[in-house]
């Protein structure tokens, strides 16, 4: 399984390195979303700083949808998905590999968006490590759910519109927990302030990674 995970993740990341879709399209889209949020909130810096945690995670969710769409579309062209099925790769390895590649891209995107939030909204981070931990845990959950629901929508003609519809409600706990942890980190709170939400992220990650390992194969065969 791990061999297949590394193989698939390496393939997807190599494709991203060549096409640079995440850096040249998804990241600018996220920044534009942050700018538009700022326009919508008006010139009140205090209001922007207060809303920064939620707006950051909403932008991350939008970017996740695009990153997952790209991950699915890579397998849709020229029968590549059939090629993967025919290769006899372990479905669990395939799920983990594709999730890992999406996660790696999300980490970079989150770093860019976090910079954008600090610069544009004047957000001040008092407990940086809490921000880092929440981003890492949130990334795992978003990558796992995105890959899972991306596979569900893969064989459907209207997948471009169906995927956000499926994914965004499912990812709501990440938005909620991530926002609360960021609020605690920006207010100079302690780890205990964010710990219930960190636990929620850990449980969310564990459930969706385990679910993906078990059901990704059957989903892929039936899509």
């Amino acid at each position: 399984m791990w061999r297949d995970t590394v193989l698939v993740a390496g393939k997807d990341l190599r494709i991203e390195a060549r096409s640079k879709v995440a850096l040249s399209q998804v990241a600018p889209f996220g920044i534009v979303a942050l700018v538009l949020f700022a326009f919508a909130l008006g010139p009140d810096r205090g209001l922007m700083a207060k809303g920064a945690p939620g707006l950051f995670w909403v932008a991350v969710l939008f970017c996740t949808v695009l990153a997952v769409q790209r991950s699915v579309s890579v397998e849709s062209a020229d029968g590549a998905r059939d090629g993967l099925r025919l290769s006899g790769l372990d479905p669990a390895g395939l799920f983990l590999g594709k999730s890992a590649a999406v996660a790696a891209q999300l980490v970079v995107l989150e770093a860019v968006l976090a910079g954008g939030v600090i610069l544009l909204y004047g957000a001040k981070v008092e407990v940086p490590w809490l921000i880092v931990v929440s981003c890492l845990l949130g990334t795992v959950g978003l990558a796992a759910t995105g890959t899972l629901y991306g596979a569900l929508s893969a064989g459907i003609r209207v997948r471009e519109t169906l995927l956000p519809f499926l994914l965004l409600p499912i990812a709501a706990p990440v938005l909620l927990a991530g926002t609360r942890i960021w609020q605690a980190a920006m207010a100079g709170g302690t780890a205990s302030d964010g710990s219930p939400w960190l636990r929620l992220l850990v449980v969310f990650d564990a459930v969706y990674v385990a679910l993906g390992i078990v059901v990704y194969g059957p989903i892929q065969e039936s899509a």
Binding site: K11, R18, A80, D82, G83, L86, G88
Partner: protein, 260 residues
């Protein structure tokens, strides 16, 4: 002393029915293909030739009936079957952003085959020099087909399922493909070829079956497969093909060394 049991067929379909929604892809196919046999599958458009190959590859599940591929159930034991089966379909299964070499390497590694055979297989299909580092997205349809064939030649599975294999290939590539098929026959590979262009294939196949309306409606013997081990290699003209049969324990090293 009891006579030895006959070897199980490479492909066995009994009353196989496959559906796409409510549309019948196969409507009760009975077909048996012996190990090492090369069978041409003929029939008009939409007759079920491609579906038959996809059932054998485990990509399409039967609604009823029975299928066995290499003695295994291609649905329940799909990963074991798929690593031993190669499907050359209308799609080339390539990633446009990866180079030719990267595509072949990924496909071969994913199938658990020996990467040492990649260079020889690519050379043989005319994929060399700058072409190896060219993105698959920049290739012509014929070149993409060559890459798909290179994957098959590098993997050298036990069962080849070839769907219109000559389509989109130029004369040189068609000749190379015929030589590959001939060498595969000589090494004991079982081959199922779905083709409209019977003229290219009849000399290679030992038997033809006609599929009409999702059923096998006719069988006829052909005189193909006679080139056998006497066929010259594309890389070693005048040299007989290595007859080394591929096996899981010693997977076609001799064959591949010859390819390379």
């Amino acid at each position: 002393m009891a006579p030895a049991a006959p070897p199980s067929p490479a492909i066995l379909l009994h009353d196989a029915v496959a559906l796409s929604g409510r549309f019948p892809l196969l409507a009760g196919v009975d077909l048996e293909v012996a190990t090492g046999e090369t069978v041409l599958v003929e029939g008009p458009n939409g007759a079920g030739k491609t579906s038959l190959l996809r059932v054998c590859a485990g990509l399409v599940r039967l609604a009823s009936g029975r299928v066995s591929v290499l003695g295994l159930d291609p649905v329940r034991q799909r990963n074991r079957v798929r690593r031993r089966v190669g499907l050359l379909s209308h799609a080339s299964h390539l990633y446009d952003d990866l180079s030719v070499r990267e595509n072949v390497r990924f496909a071969v590694r994913a199938a658990g085959a020996d990467v040492a055979r990649i260079d020889g297989a690519c050379d043989r299909l005319g994929l060399s020099g700058r072409l190896l580092t060219t993105s698959a997205g920049k290739l012509s349809a014929g070149q993409r087909r060559r890459v798909a064939l290179a994957v098959l030649a590098a993997r050298w599975p036990e069962l080849w399922l070839l769907d219109e294999p000559h389509a989109g290939l130029d004369a040189s590539a068609r000749q190379t493909l015929n030589q590959l098929i001939d060498e595969a026959q000589a090494s004991g590979v079982t081959i199922l070829i779905a083709s409209h262009e019977s003229g290219f294939v009849e000399s290679l196949a030992t038997r033809a079956v006609t599929v009409t309306g999702g059923r096998v409606t006719d069988h006829r013997p052909l005189g193909g497969g006679s080139l056998g081990a006497e066929a010259p290699s594309a890389l070693n003209p005048g040299q007989p093909s290595a007859p080394t049969p591929p096996s899981p324990d010693r997977p076609v090293e001799g064959r591949v060394a010859h390819v390379a």
